[in-house]
Amino acid sequence: MTDEPVSQSRRGFLRSTALAGAGLVAGAASARAAAGPDPKITEVQDWASSFGDAVDAAPYGMPIRFESHVVRRNVEWLTESPVSSINFTPIHALEGTITPQGCAFERHHSGAIELSKQDFRLMINGLVEKPLVFTFEDLLRFPRSVTTAFCECAANGGMEWGGAQLEGCQYTQGMIHNMEYTGVPLRLLLEEAGVKPEGKWVYAEGADASSNGRSMPLEKAMDDVMVAFFANGEALRKEHGYPARLVVPGWEGNMWVKWLRRIAVYDQAVESREETSKYTDLMPDGRARKWTWVMDAKSVITSPSPQVPVRHGKGPLVITGLAWSGNGRITRVDVSLDGGVNWQPARISGDAKPKALTRFHLDIDWNGEEMLLQSRAMDDTGYLQPTKDELRKIRGLNNVYHNNGIQTWWVKADGEVENVEVA
């Protein structure tokens, strides 16, 4: 694992093109040069002569219009109602590890509500010495911490249990985002109320009509769970739970309760609708796993992928992707070009933080022949991302949740990419 971008294959590429002579690499930019001087260079362009926008043209800036395709998208047939539905982060179009709030996936069970800081109240009750009510201003007076964490819906990839189904990692792995949060450790709020010895479970619920209540063991609540009010340096967005949400690093997104209104300590799990009827994993024998909170190690190549075909022809090709684990830190990512027969290590770019998205890159010299691209992550517990068939062998086809199997992209000779499975 090194951060050096120069790979063996790239040096090989440079040597081979030098021998073969220039002009063999297809592409828009080089084609223009072959036809004569580029007018974008030889002619004075408007933007090089006249004014651009004044300051304050956009007091809060949005992405430039050329990026208007980089938006959340949904799959309408998945759900009956758009207020109890999900959309997908355009991970195929993003780089690095931080997900901008404006395109980070949404999952609501009863719509995104507008809750002001003035109207916000957080109650802590149940098996505590003194039940408390906090205003938003109270929360701002507790010591803060900062943490970066991925939030992945337990059903991310759930449509792929039966086989390849959707074209693009936005749809197959895009129920995920990764932000830097600032807030109050839940532990401090619980200590303020004083947890009684018989209190074993912590239940969190939201202020929206669904409430989306979830139970977690007291140990987790006292460990790394946060009541967050900033994400990526600014206030949470409405759709992500403004003014305060729960951050539960490494655990399924459904537990990251938004528009938080109540924390309760009980002697047992509440066994709410969201932890019985939903978010339980049906096994082949007809029984179901419950309390499957942790998101296991997983990775996906975000480019090339069905929404990002290779349009430049053979030669240097950047393969980029994301890896993450709810059990810790990503220690290695391997990439296969032949559907899992042979593998080579990819480069981990930047920090590999625990329970956070990690970026990997592999620079290759593509020979223009078709490839079956796969990536495979390993975390610091030694867990190696399994294939989908390895998971199906244990869990069958009706598990719905926690599909962390290896994704295959079929890159064809013309550069188009399909979601496939191989055997």
Partner: protein
């Protein structure tokens, strides 16, 4: 909990002195004295949870027959009169023995482990769009009716706080705590194979054959990155190249010259001339508000009646007059009496659906904000027939 990898990892880090401390904060000596004590009335209003052992149940009762009536009024619009589920709304009854099928039917009778979950969820979060409007006795009655629908009690059954915990659901023992650390992690914790790991592979399944991915107008998967080579041309002529259809709705104003043409009427038939002068911003806002309605009401070309009737051309139409929709008696009577959906009647209906037309079957609490009602009415008026 020690079997969880989460805690195993934490313990290991602490033991080795490598605790990362992502949530480390300054040590605080004792409590900060922030917040105030919650009052009993406040806790009673917010702590509605009912636990598997019955803790949290409020005193009350309800019988199957009453439950059937309440269910028909408040729940059947989505879940069907027999809890069989309309369209793709959740099926609440049946499905016994289906959990090993390729298409399992997970219902209260076949899947849910605890009756407390039913009571808790109905009382706290249903009906969809009008949560916390079911009374305690109604909740007991609906729960009793759902037990009856699943063949678990007789039709004279009465459920109350006193006999609640006597009821055991059939799948109570069908769940076990996460065992991945024991059953999966040992299998998947191994040295990575790097070469000749499997025999050469072939493509066995292609997503493209299912053809269920949302597409852009060019037939590519929606959101495909545009070719960089083609982009500068678009950039040079923003006024004539329309942005992708979906960004016309989402973007604030990507191309000012084209803005007046962006009055959003997605997939709807052309708007009547009378509303061509309507405020596009109000209509756009109305389209956002309409998301609250879209669960049940479809609009636009090819829209079909769902849980609620199609709303194309509703403004100016007689009440209760959409072909093929099964209306409640009160709406049919209103239409027969000459009532028409105009700005005034729609506003009154949307302010308080059950108050304005009692016993109608729309399970919706109404829109409290006047500006939101005006916007959604403007949006509906912009839709053609």
């Amino acid at each position: 909990m020690s079997k969880l990898p989460e805690f195993r990892l934490t313990a290991a880090l602490v033991a080795s002195g490598l605790m990362l401390g992502s949530l480390v904060t300054p040590a605080i000596a004792g409590k900060l004295g922030l917040g105030r004590e919650a009052l009993p009335e406040e806790i009673a209003a917010w702590d509605l949870s009912v636990l598997p052992d019955g803790k949290g149940l409020r005193p009350g009762s309800g019988d199957v027959a009453t439950g059937e009536e309440v269910f028909a009024e408040k729940c059947a619009a989505c879940h069907g009169e027999f809890a069989e589920g309309l369209d793709s709304w959740p099926v609440l009854a049946g499905g016994e023995g289906s959990l090993t099928d390729r298409r399992p039917v997970k219902t209260i009778g076949s899947y849910w482990p605890y009756l407390s979950t039913v009571w808790d969820y109905v009382h706290r979060s249903m009906p969809f769009g009008a949560a916390q409007t079911v009374s305690i006795d109604e909740t007991y009655a609906i729960t009793a009716f759902l037990l009856y629908s699943n063949g678990l009690v007789e039709d004279d059954f009465v459920l109350s706080h006193e006999n609640f915990t006597d009821v055991k659901l059939p799948n109570a023992d069908g769940f076990y705590p996460d065992d991945r650390p024991q059953t999966e992690y040992p299998l998947f914790t191994k040295e990575p194979c790097m070469s000749n790991c499997v025999a050469p592979v072939k493509v066995t399944k292609r997503a493209i054959e299912l053809n269920v991915t949302p597409e852009d107008s060019d037939g590519r998967p929606a959101g495909s990155l545009p070719p960089i080579g083609a982009q500068p041309d678009k950039a040079e002529a923003p006024a004539v190249v329309p942005p992708p259809a979906e960004t016309q709705v989402a973007a604030a104003s990507p191309a000012p010259a084209a803005a007046p043409a962006q009055a959003p009427a997605p997939a709807a038939t052309p708007a009547p001339a009378s509303v061509a002068t309507a405020d596009p911003a109000l209509i756009e806002k109305g389209m956002t508000v309409f998301k609250k309605c879209a669960a049940c009401h479809k609009v636009g070309e090819g829209a079909k009646n769902g849980t609620g009737p199609v709303l194309n051309g509703v403004v100016g139409a007689k009440v209760g007059a959409v072909d093929g929709f099964k209306y409640s008696k009160v709406l049919l009577d209103a239409g027969a009496g000459g009532m028409v959906w105009d700005a005034a009647t729609l506003d009154a209906y949307l302010t308080d659906p059950k108050g304005f037309l009692p016993k109608n079957k729309m399970a919706f609490a109404g829109i409290k904000k006047e500006d939101e009602r005006a916007a959604v009415i403007a949006y509906l008026a912009s839709l053609g027939k």
